[in-house]
C-alpha cells in the first residue's frame, strides 16, 4: 500500500513547520525520514499513526483519505523508541494484545503470537515480564507485537536509538528482513545517517520542515543536491566556488576555488552560494610537489587514527579539508605539520546553498 501526504500544513505555537508539504511513499518500500531533531520527521510519522492531525492537507493510505480516521482504526503497526511494552503483561500477552482487540480467538492468537516470537528469536521468553528482558530483546518484542497484527503500514520511531552500537547493527538487519518478509510499506524515522543508509530503499532528507532530497541511499550519498544533504549525510567537505573557468580536455568542467582549480563531471548549474561537496574518502593524499588542476596544497593539522581508516585534517587556502585513508594502504603514517598535496576527485558534486 502506498502512502501519501497532500499539501500538509502544520504550525506549532504560530511557527509554521510544514508549508504545502507533499510526499508519496511507494508501496512495499522501506522509506526513511532522515534529519536532525526538530526537522519534522517525527511529526510526519505521528501524522501517519494518527497521533497528530495536520492543520491542513490530507493523508492517504492507498487511495483512502485517512486524515480523520482515529489511531485505533488505522491498522498501522508502530514501534517506539522507548519500546512502550506494557509493563504489567508478559511478553506473550504483549504480542497478543493487538490480536485480542481484533477479536481473534484466544488459542489462535497465542499460536500466531508464539510464531511471531519464534521469528524474532524470543519464543523461550514468552512468559517473562518485559522488565526481565534486555533493551534489544524488548525492541524485538515490540517488533513482534507490531507485526503480528499484519498492519497495512509499519511505523518505526527511532527504534534503535536507545540501544548500544553492537545491538543496533544486529537489530537493523533483523528489522529489514522482517519488513521484506511481510512485504509491507515501512516508514522509519532516524537522525542517524549510517542507519538510514544501511536499511532504506529510499531516504527523504529533511531540514526545518522541508524535504530537501529524496533518493536511494547511494544517490543521496554520491549525488547530494544541497549543502545540507551533503553535510548531514556523511559530512562531506564543502569548498566554496569562486567561479567557472574554461572547460578542460574532454569537456570536463573546471571550477575555481580559493585553493586552486578543481575538476568535476557534475552537470549541475552553478548558483550563488553553490559549493563543491567532496567525500573525505575520495580525496587522495600525496607528498608536496608542483600543483596542477585538481590538486590542492595544504598542511596536516590533525591526525586521527581510527583503526581501519586514518583520518587527516588538512589546512588549505579553502579551509580545512578532511581526508580518510585506508590505514593498510598508506605507505607510511603522516605527521602533524607535514606539507602535503591533496588529489581532488572528478566526482566532486556541485551542491546548492541551504
Amino acid at each position: 500500500m502506498h502512502v501519501s501526504f497532500e499539501s500538509i500544513h502544520q504550525s506549532y505555537g504560530g511557527q509554521p513547520l510544514f508549508r504545502q508539504l507533499d510526499l508519496v511513499i511507494p508501496s512495499g518500500k522501506f522509506f526513511t525520514l532522515l534529519g536532525p531533531s526538530g526537522c519534522g520527521k517525527t511529526t510526519l510519522l505521528r501524522m501517519l499513526g494518527g497521533f497528530v492531525r495536520p492543520d491542513g492537507g490530507r493523508i492517504l493510505f492507498g487511495g483512502d483519505d485517512v486524515t480523520d480516521v482515529p489511531v485505533h482504526r488505522r491498522g498501522v503497526g508502530m514501534v517506539f523508541q522507548d519500546y512502550a511494552l506494557f509493563p504489567d503483561r508478559s511478553v506473550l500477552a504483549n504480542v497478543c494484545y493487538g490480536l485480542a482487540a481484533r477479536n481473534v480467538r484466544r488459542a489462535e492468537a497465542a499460536d500466531r503470537a508464539l510464531a511471531m516470537l519464534e521469528r524474532v528469536g524470543l519464543k523461550a521468553f514468552a512468559d517473562r515480564a518485559p522488565a526481565a528482558l534486555s533493551g534489544g530483546q524488548r525492541q524485538r518484542v515490540a517488533m513482534a507485537r507490531a507485526l503480528v497484527i499484519e498492519p497495512r503500514l509499519l511505523l518505526l520511531d527511532e527504534p534503535l536509538s536507545a540501544l548500544d552500537v553492537k545491538l543496533r547493527v544486529e537489530l537493523r538487519s533483523m528489522i529489514r528482513d522482517l519488513q521484506i518478509e511481510a512485504g509491507i510499506t515501512a516508514v522509519f524515522v532516524t537522525h542517524d545517517q549510517e542507519e538510514a543508509l544501511a536499511m532504506s530503499d529510499l531516504i527523504a532528507v529533511m531540514d526545518r520542515g522541508r524535504i530537501v532530497q529524496i533518493g536511494s541511499p547511494c544517490e543521496i550519498y554520491t549525488r547530494p543536491q544541497t549543502v545540507f544533504a551533503a553535510d548531514f549525510v556523511g559530512s562531506a567537505n564543502l569548498i566554496p566556488i569562486t567561479g567557472e573557468l574554461a572547460p578542460g580536455a574532454g569537456g570536463v568542467r573546471r571550477l575555481g576555488t580559493p585553493a586552486g582549480v578543481i575538476l568535476t563531471t557534475s552537470g549541475a548549474t552553478l548558483r550563488p552560494g553553490s559549493r563543491l561537496a567532496i567525500r573525505s574518502e575520495e580525496v587522495s593524499l600525496a607528498d608536496a610537489g608542483a600543483m596542477a588542476d585538481g590538486q590542492v596544497a595544504g598542511t596536516i593539522e590533525h591526525v586521527e587514527f581510527r583503526g581501519s581508516v586514518t583520518g587527516y585534517t588538512v589546512g588549505t587556502a579553502a579551509g580545512a579539508i578532511r581526508v580518510d585513508v585506508w590505514t593498510a594502504q598508506q605507505k607510511r603514517p603522516r605527521e602533524r605539520g607535514e606539507a602535503v598535496m591533496l588529489g581532488m576527485p572528478g566526482t566532486a558534486q556541485i551542491v546548492e546553498a541551504a
Binding site: G49, G50, F51, R53, P70, V71, H72, R73, R74, G75, V76, G77, M78, F80, Q81, D82, A84, L85, F86, P87, D88, Y97, G98, A101, R102, A142, R145, A146, I149, L155
Partner: protein, 551 residues
C-alpha cells in the same frame, strides 16, 4: 484552547463534566458566599461586614487570635518537626528508625481524639493533676494559649517533619562534597550551602502547618473557649440562629478564604519559584553519633513518638474505665462504654463508614479522570481543571460547610439536611490529595504506552482501562485508602453540615467531650481508631500499598 483534547470527544466530555462538577459544587458556593459577605444588612452592596469586623474589638480579637495561633503553632511545629528531621536525616543513632511510624500515627489518631485525650491527661481533673495534687502543685489550665499551642503542635509537627525530611533526602551529596573540596570547613558548608537549599522545604512545611492551623476547628473548639478563633467563631455565628448575622458569618468565612488563598499564592509564587532542581539519588550520608549526643537524639525521638502515641493509649485505657458522671475511676474495668458505643448507639459508626465509602468512591472516580486529563491531555481546559482541583486545599472545612449550606438550602438544588451534602463536602475536601496521588504515577507513565495500545487497535477509552489503569492502580488504591480514613476523622465541615440522625464518629466524640462524658468519648474514639487503623494496616502490610509512609 482544546489542545490534545481536540481528537478525543470522550475525554473532552469528561473534562467538561469535571469542571462542571467543581464549578457547581465548589466555585459556585464559594463565590456566592464571598458575595454575601459584601451584602449589608439593608440589602445594598458594601463593606459593612468587614468594617464591623475590624471595628468591633470582639471580632478583631478573633482575627488576631487566629494569626497568633497560626504563627505560634507553626513556629513550634517547625522547631519540633524540622529539628527532628534534621537530626534523623544527618545523624545515625539507636532507634532513629522509629520516626518512620510518625506519619502513620498522625493519620490514625484524629485531632479531636488527641484533644480529648490531652484533656484526660493534663486537664483540671486530669491524671497528672491527680498525681500532683498531694504535692500541692497544679498545672496551668489546658484551656489556654499554651494548651492550644501544645496540642496543636502535636497534631501538626508531622507535616513540618515530612517536608523538611524530604527536602534533606533530596539534597545532592556532591554539592556539600564539592564545597568542602573547595576548602570550606563543614560548618560553613552546612550554613552556606545546605541551609539555603533547604529553605524552600522549610517554607513549604511552614505554609502547610499554618494553613492547617488557621482552618482547624476541633482543637480550638474544645480548648479555646477563652481564645476564640475565626473558624470557631464563624461556626458559632452560624449555629446561633437568633443572634447570628449571615453577613458576619460569611465575612469571617471569607476572611479565612482570603488567608488560605494568600498562603497558596505565597506557595506558588515565592516558594515554588525558589525550589531547586537537584540530581537525585545521592543524599548526604548520616553521620554516626555517640555518647551524650546519641542519648539526647534517641531521647528526643522517643519523646516525640511517645507523646504522639500517648493519646491512643489514653483513650483505649479510658474507654474501659468505670465512670461516675464525669469522674473516672482508673484501675477499674468495664465494658459498658464500649458496649454502649458499639451496640446501644452504633449509628455514628455506621454513618461515618457509609459517608466515607460514598465520598471515597466518588473521589476515586473523579480524581483518576481529573489526574489523567491534567497530565495526559494538556490543554487550557485541563489546566483550569488543575487549578480548580487544588482549590479545596486553601479552604477550611468550616468555611466549605458554610458555603455549601448557604448555596444549597434553597433554589434549584436543595441538599441541606441530607447526607448528600456531607458526602459532597468530604469528596471536595479530599480531591486535592487524591488527584495528586494519581498525578505522580501518571507523570512517570510514558505516553508511548498508551499510543502503542491505540495503534494496536484499541480505542482511547479502552486503552485507558487496559493499559493506564493497571499501572497507576497501586498508587490510586493507596490514595483511596487514605481518602477513606481521613474522611472518617473529618470534623470541621461535618460540624456545620450534620443534622439530627446523621451524627458521625468525630461529631459524637466532640459532643461527648463537650458534655463531659469523657469515657464515652473514648469508647467512640477507640472504635474510630480501629476503623482507621484496620484498613490502613491491611493496605500497608497485606497489599503492600504505600499509605502513611514518607515518600
Amino acid at each position: 484552547m482544546l489542545g490534545r483534547l481536540r481528537r478525543d470527544p470522550a475525554w473532552l466530555a469528561l473534562a467538561v463534566l469535571c469542571i462542571g462538577v467543581l464549578g457547581v459544587f465548589l466555585v459556585g458556593p464559594l463565590v456566592a458566599m464571598l458575595g454575601k459577605s459584601f451584602v449589608d444588612a439593608d440589602g445594598g452592596a458594601g463593606f459593612g461586614g468587614y468594617v464591623r469586623f475590624f471595628s468591633e474589638a470582639a471580632y478583631r480579637e478573633v482575627f488576631f487570635n487566629t494569626l497568633v495561633l497560626g504563627v505560634a503553632v507553626t513556629s513550634s511545629s517547625m522547631l519540633v518537626g524540622g529539628g527532628l528531621a534534621v537530626v534523623v536525616a544527618r545523624c545515625r543513632f539507636p532507634l532513629a528508625g522509629l520516626v518512620t511510624v510518625l506519619p502513620l500515627v498522625t493519620l490514625v489518631i484524629p485531632d479531636v481524639v488527641v484533644a480529648a485525650s490531652w484533656l484526660l491527661i493534663l486537664g483540671k481533673q486530669g491524671l497528672l493533676n491527680g498525681w500532683l495534687e498531694p504535692l500541692g502543685v497544679q498545672l496551668p489550665s489546658l484551656y489556654s494559649w499554651w494548651g492550644l499551642v501544645y496540642v496543636m503542635t502535636l497534631n501538626n509537627y508531622v507535616y513540618a517533619f515530612v517536608a523538611v525530611l524530604v527536602g534533606l533526602k533530596s539534597m545532592d551529596r556532591n554539592l556539600e562534597e564539592a564545597a568542602q573540596s573547595l576548602g570550606q570547613p563543614l560548618g560553613r558548608v552546612l550554613s552556606g550551602v545546605t541551609a539555603p537549599l533547604l529553605l524552600p522545604s522549610v517554607f513549604a512545611g511552614a505554609l502547610i502547618v499554618f494553613t492547617h492551623v488557621i482552618g482547624s476547628f476541633g482543637v480550638p473548639a474544645i480548648l479555646g473557649a477563652r481564645t476564640p478563633v475565626l473558624a470557631v467563631k464563624a461556626y458559632n455565628e452560624f449555629v446561633s440562629e437568633m443572634g447570628g448575622s449571615p453577613q458576619m458569618q460569611t465575612t469571617m468565612a471569607s476572611l479565612l478564604v482570603f488567608l488560605g488563598a494568600g498562603m497558596l499564592l505565597v506557595q506558588k509564587f515565592v516558594v515554588e519559584r525558589r525550589q531547586f532542581q537537584m540530581e537525585s539519588g545521592r543524599s548526604p550520608f548520616a553521620v554516626p553519633i555517640e555518647g551524650w549526643r546519641a542519648v539526647a537524639a534517641t531521647g528526643s525521638v522517643l519523646t516525640v513518638v511517645a507523646l504522639s502515641l500517648l493519646p491512643a493509649v489514653t483513650v483505649v485505657v479510658t474507654a474501659f474505665t468505670p465512670s461516675v458522671g464525669p469522674v473516672l475511676r482508673y484501675g477499674g474495668f468495664t465494658l459498658n462504654h464500649v458496649r454502649y458505643a458499639l451496640l446501644r448507639a452504633p449509628e455514628p459508626l455506621y454513618n461515618s463508614l457509609f459517608l466515607a465509602t460514598v465520598a471515597t468512591v466518588a473521589g476515586l472516580l473523579f480524581s483518576v479522570v481529573a489526574a489523567y486529563l491534567v497530565v495526559k491531555r494538556r490543554a487550557v481546559l485541563t489546566h483550569a481543571l488543575d487549578v480548580l482541583v487544588m482549590l479545596p486545599l486553601t479552604i477550611a472545612g468550616t468555611v466549605l460547610g458554610i458555603a455549601l449550606v448557604n448555596a444549597f438550602n434553597s433554589g434549584w438544588l436543595v441538599l441541606t439536611g441530607s447526607w448528600v451534602i456531607m458526602a459532597l463536602a468530604y469528596f471536595l475536601r479530599r480531591v486535592p490529595t487524591s488527584v495528586r496521588a494519581a498525578v505522580g504515577p501518571l507523570h512517570n507513565l510514558k505516553d508511548s504506552i498508551e499510543e502503542a495500545s491505540m495503534s494496536l487497535g484499541v480505542s482511547p477509552i479502552r486503552s485507558f482501562f487496559q493499559v493506564v489503569l493497571p499501572v497507576i492502580g497501586p498508587s490510586v488504591a493507596a490514595a483511596a485508602v487514605l481518602m477513606w480514613v481521613t474522611t472518617l476523622s473529618e470534623l470541621s465541615a461535618t460540624v456545620v453540615l450534620y443534622f439530627g440522625g446523621m451524627n458521625t464518629m468525630p461529631i459524637e466524640i466532640f459532643q461527648q467531650v463537650d458534655s463531659g462524658r469523657l469515657a464515652l468519648a473514648c469508647a467512640y474514639s477507640v472504635l474510630l481508631l480501629l476503623a482507621i487503623f484496620l484498613p490502613l494496616a491491611l493496605a500497608r502490610w497485606i497489599f503492600r500499598l504505600k499509605v502513611g509512609t514518607i515518600e
